[in-house]
């Protein structure tokens, strides 16, 4: 195989066309994911994590568009592919699962058929073969009694079961990359734990890389090897998941970790007032100049207000984008 990473994003900028102006919803975003690697994008609403993922699979729609930068899948620029080539890539090589599986599944088609369709569409199987493969796919995501479940409609399944079906569909063609956008946010914690374990195991068995998008620091730290924290359209810190939340280099990452009421903290240290991050998450049209976190940052100085910080490579590996990084 080539030495090119599975997916490589370089200086990606995504513009949002407003009524009267264009603003950059995502800017200077670069990262790469190797084969079989697990990579996490964390951030709050509007930070650009989901639209970055949509750009990866060529699903950005107006008023959003890729303004500049490169997205390369195995060295091939995705932007330059034809619509048909992009379609082949999606589903077959890159698959995606979403937060609410109910809206992503077709309500009037049995789940088995929806899985089988993937084999017919992308692998050229006959329906008879595909139906058999669908049963196996359901079994592989630990759906009990898969022979019967293939005939169920999405509304007959629980939220956890539906997400399993989504995973079965996503993994049906053995994709190289699975993009999971808040895959467990709508689920209960015990169900979340099962889905996470399932994803981890399946991907490890098959060598599938995962790009996980979430606002949940704990989730990302536990699923991914490397994590990028996004704030207001930029990656502010990107490191291995073992250290990123334990020795935060960026004040925003530190602020997030400090503001969480983590399980066990009260028992160990007693109850103290949670550290707050002042202010509000800015809307895309109101991104401040300079470092975008500066209005909420306790360490901000003059330079933070005027100049956007450059990427700094950390000695311990990873990068941070802050004038005063730890």
């Amino acid at each position: 195989m080539t030495t090119a990473p599975l997916i490589e994003v370089e200086d990606l900028r995504i513009d949002l066309d407003g009524r009267s102006s264009r603003v950059a919803a995502v800017e200077d975003v670069s990262f790469r994911i190797e084969r079989g690697e697990t990579f996490g994008l964390v951030g709050e609403s509007g930070c650009g994590k989901s639209i970055t993922a949509l750009a990866l699979i060529g699903l950005l729609r107006r008023p959003l568009s890729v303004a500049s930068g490169a997205i390369r899948f195995e060295g091939r620029e995705i932007q330059s592919l034809s619509a048909a080539e992009q379609r082949d890539l999606r589903g077959d090589r890159i698959a995606m699962i979403f937060q609410e599986p109910m809206t992503a599944l077709n309500p009037v088609s049995p789940v088995g058929r929806q899985i089988a369709e993937m084999f017919v569409l992308h692998k050229g199987k006959s329906w008879r073969e595909a139906n058999q493969l669908a049963v196996e796919a359901l079994a592989s995501v630990r759906v009990p009694a898969p022979e019967r479940r293939v005939n169920d409609y999405p509304h007959q399944l629980s939220g956890g079961m539906r997400q399993r079906v989504m995973i079965a569909i996503a993994l049906a063609c053995g994709p190289d990359l699975l993009i999971a956008d808040e895959p467990t946010t709508a689920l209960d914690v015990t169900v979340q734990a099962e889905i996470i374990e399932l994803m981890r195991n399946l991907c490890a068995e098959r060598g599938t890389a995962i790009l996980m998008i979430s606002h949940d620091l704990g989730l990302v730290a536990n699923v991914c090897r490397r994590v990028a924290v996004m704030y207001a359209g930029r990656i502010v810190e990107q490191r291995g998941s073992d250290e990123i939340f334990r020795a935060c280099a960026h004040p925003y990452t530190q602020g997030l970790v400090d503001s969480l009421p983590r399980l066990g903290t009260r028992a160990a240290h007693g109850r103290s007032r949670l550290r707050e991050i002042a202010g509000v998450v800015p809307a895309i049209a109101d991104f401040p100049s300079g470092c975008r976190f500066n209005p909420r940052c306790a360490q901000a100085t003059e330079i933070c207000r005027t100049t956007a910080p450059e990427t700094t490579w950390l000695d311990a590996g990873g990068l941070v984008r802050c004038h005063h990084h730890a």
């Binding site: 709050e44 704990g218 399980l263 066990g264």
Partner: protein, 342 residues
Amino acid sequence: MHEAAMRPGDDVILSVQDLAVHFPIGGSLLGHGQRLLRAVDGVDLELKRGECLGLVGESGCGKSTVALSLLGLLTPTRGRIVMDGQPVSGKQSGDRKALARIVQMVFQDPYASLNPRQTVRRTLEDPLRLHGVTARSEIEGRLEAMLKHVGLRPEQAGRYPHEFSGGQRQRIGIARALILNPKIVICDEPVSALDVSIRAQIINLLLELKETLGLSYIMISHDLGVVEHMSDRVAVMYLGRIVETGGWREIFERPAHPYTRTLIAAIPDPLRRAPLATTKGELPNPLNPPDGCAFAPRCRHAEAVCQRAPVPSLETRPDGHAVRCWRADDIAGEAFADAALT
């Protein structure tokens, strides 16, 4: 109840005894083939003045149904609710108005829970007028004081909800819940719809208000970190019943019920990579619950006794920690791998 017996009764602001809410499901007009959904089936709760009671459990466990019954929006099938010394029936609308001055609610979604066509001022003033506060100066005074309490400026009163951020909207929702000076506030997932960086602000605010205004909280949440941080006592519900209840330290440091243990160990911690606790299978169908312990089909400690009727009873220990599990004593020795001890 053990603790209730030791303390003077007026310390208790809310007591719930044997609360049950059953919904008939399906069936014909005459009731043939009708089945009973036991959303809540025999729940006892006690909330002391100035305390926060955490109510945890997964969707479908009945915690929201308990909340609706306390607010008088659902008529319980049986059971007794006493709030601030007064029994609550929840049937007549006159009662509901009186009840509104005792118990209020903070809602989960700050976007859906504010009327988009009402200014903050109307949202806060209308309830006051409805409850007989008519003097212009008093209304104005209470409005201003309340806005300050929740960290908003009085000059923002003329604005509409869409002009505020999610965190500010939740502050408005809290102001609305507190404007009638209630004694009990039910917080239904008050931060889970907010951005992560905003949650701490709201949690701090809720705890501050509890102290300054002398409130008692019922905190409904699936986020155990938030529950541990805020609660004095915790009740864990599963399939319509309380399976474990006790002080926050007992619940989080020495959880006795296998379900509570699973719940705690299923939470991924940002500072610690660990395999997450998983269970077998999913929540049983509440229309057709298992014969014995409701958690038995998913429990890795389950034995034959757990799968047979009757349902284990909630056994209260001397320290007030109560557990509904046949095997609580057998598994107590098994060290509980507590999540995150930093």
